[in-house]
Amino acid sequence: MNLDALRQRFGGSLREVTVFRGETTVTADRDVLLPLGRFLRDEPGFSFRFLSDLCAVDFHPAEPRFQVAYHLYAPATGCRLRVKVILGEADPVVDSVTGIWETADWHERECFDLFGILFRNHPDMRRILLPEEFEGHPLRKDFPLEGVTAP
């Protein structure tokens, strides 16, 4: 995986590229998520055709509060890559990647359900694990572990 090619193509939109325990993480501006995703999927040498996982992390009370992490896998090369976007509490919205990786559909619904993160242009943005009437997003850090009953 040639990270320089990625830097060249996306330059300043990549905020950070880190390697920890042999895992590469690219933190990108949310505005470039879709072009970045398409590039990573289609560009020879990257070909991340498989989205293993997509999930959110809440860093409350720190701000910016949320991060959405995309775990990519390239079956042809065996490489893995983590792409992250950072979202603030006031505007937890990011483009849906369902158009790039179909599997993102349920992952993004789960992310919305548990964290209240909205995915723009998602085909079916509703709760998936919790009942529709449920109030709040339980995996947020300010949601109590006990004391809330399901409606």
């Binding site: 325990r21 498989f50 996982d53 992490a69 179909e102 548990l114 694990l129």
Partner: protein, 389 residues
């Protein structure tokens, strides 16, 4: 097409949904026009719960994510923590883990085979499959004191060393097991009714599987030979000889063949692991994450204090994030851990193969008969506890 459709509620209480899965089916006669899966009935908030537990306490939660493959879940989790803390696991422990993970794969596939065949009207395989699964459950029980929820793996190694009985019982089992698989195959592989119910049903090609994130036997049944044990060998899988069975058609029948052959390969691996079992340590005793030996607590105050600290405060892995995936019986099972350097995970995400694989269901059953829905659900091999977490 009559143009008039009927809405049918399948589940959440229905034997063929293998747990509490609800599917709202739109039927035209017996043909499925559309389907809407409804999940979450078994959502226990395990990921939220994990954020309030110490890194060690999480191990017992992982058993409960997928109760048919608890050892695999233990393994994926402890390996992720070991990656985060850069712990080197002794070779002996790695071998035992492989043996246990493969026995677990066999047990899980046996349960799948029995119930799946039963769903499609073949009553007999269930009794045979559960007979062999019982032997594996007995092995787990003698080792860990528990059948379904062994929680036998620890960060850095195992909960205890294996005893002499373990090696013998695994060798005995793996000796007779291939003959047992022949028996199952006699009942099903060339059975014309079985073939009619499964061939050409629920077809999903390799390309669609990859797009949908589908992994494991479903993906390999469609001819893509991706198995994490080969592509990224963990826990010493590169030291064993085994094949990755694949299918071609990507239908229910090929998924059946793949899983049946996988059971044979798993028995081979488990046998190699026990025959070549190295001596030495079974846990990385020098690691900060490992509890002092039990017998030391009675006469060594430093060990007692350390034990107390590990129970009350827990370990503090460095801040950072890791993702570790293994090949569970159902596919890519991954744990994504985010640590802030504290004694509890800041975030624990389970990449559950059942959840992802189930997403392909609608594509597989649209336009098919209602009876095929049951065959397709069975062939996905979901565990609803893992889907809902």
């Amino acid at each position: 097409m009559s143009g008039k459709t009927l809405t049918l509620n399948l589940g959440p209480q229905h034997p063929s949904t293998h747990g509490v899965l609800r599917i709202v089916l739109e039927l035209d006669g017996e043909t499925v026009v559309d389907a809407r899966p409804d999940i979450g009935f078994l959502h226990r908030g395990i990921e939220k719960l994990a954020e309030s537990k110490t890194w060690h306490q999480v191990i017992v939660l992982t058993d409960r994510i997928d109760y048919l493959a608890a050892m695999s879940n233990n393994l994926a989790y402890v390996m992720a923590v070991e990656k985060l803390m850069a712990i080197e696991v002794p070779r002996r422990a790695r071998y035992v883990r492989v043996a246990l993970a493969e026995l677990q794969r066999i047990a899980s596939h046996l349960f799948w085979l029995g119930t799946h065949a039963h769903d499609l009207g073949a009553m007999t395989p269930l009794f045979y499959a559960l007979r062999e699964r019982e032997v594996i459950m007995d092995i787990f029980e003698s080792l860990a004191g528990s059948r379904l929820m062994p929680s036998f793996l620890r960060i850095g190694g195992l909960a205890a060393d294996i005893d002499g009985r373990f090696a013998k019982s695994v060798l005995d089992f793996t000796e007779t097991f291939p003959g047992r698989v022949d028996e199952y195959e006699t009942l099903l592989t060339d059975n014309p009714i079985w073939k009619l119910r499964t061939k050409g049903v629920g077809v999903l090609d390799g390309e669609s599987c990859l797009g949908l994130g589908i992994s494991g036997p479903m993906l390999r049944g469609a001819g893509v030979d991706w198995d994490i044990r080969k592509s990224h060998p963990y826990s010493g899988y590169d030291e064993f000889h085994f094949e990755i069975p694949t299918g071609r058609a990507g239908d229910v029948y090929d998924r059946y063949l793949v899983r049946v052959r996988e059971m044979r390969e798993s028995a081979r691996i488990a046998r190699q692991a026990v025959e070549g079992l190295p001596g030495g340590e079974w846990i990385d005793a020098g690691s900060a994450a490992v509890f002092p030996p039990r017998h030391e607590l009675k006469h060594n105050v430093a060990a007692l204090i350390r034990h107390f600290g590990l129970v009350m405060e827990g370990i503090t892995p460095p801040a950072g994030e890791v993702y570790h995936a293994i090949e569970s019986p159902r596919g890519e099972l991954g744990f994504y851990l985010v640590s802030d350097g504290g004694p509890k995970p800041l975030r624990l995400k389970v990449r559950a193969p059942s959840f992802v694989n189930l997403q392909g269901l609608v594509k597989m059953i649209r336009g098919r008969l209602l009876a095929d829905v049951v065959a397709v659900i069975g062939a996905v091999d979901i565990v609803l506890a893992e889907v809902d977490r």
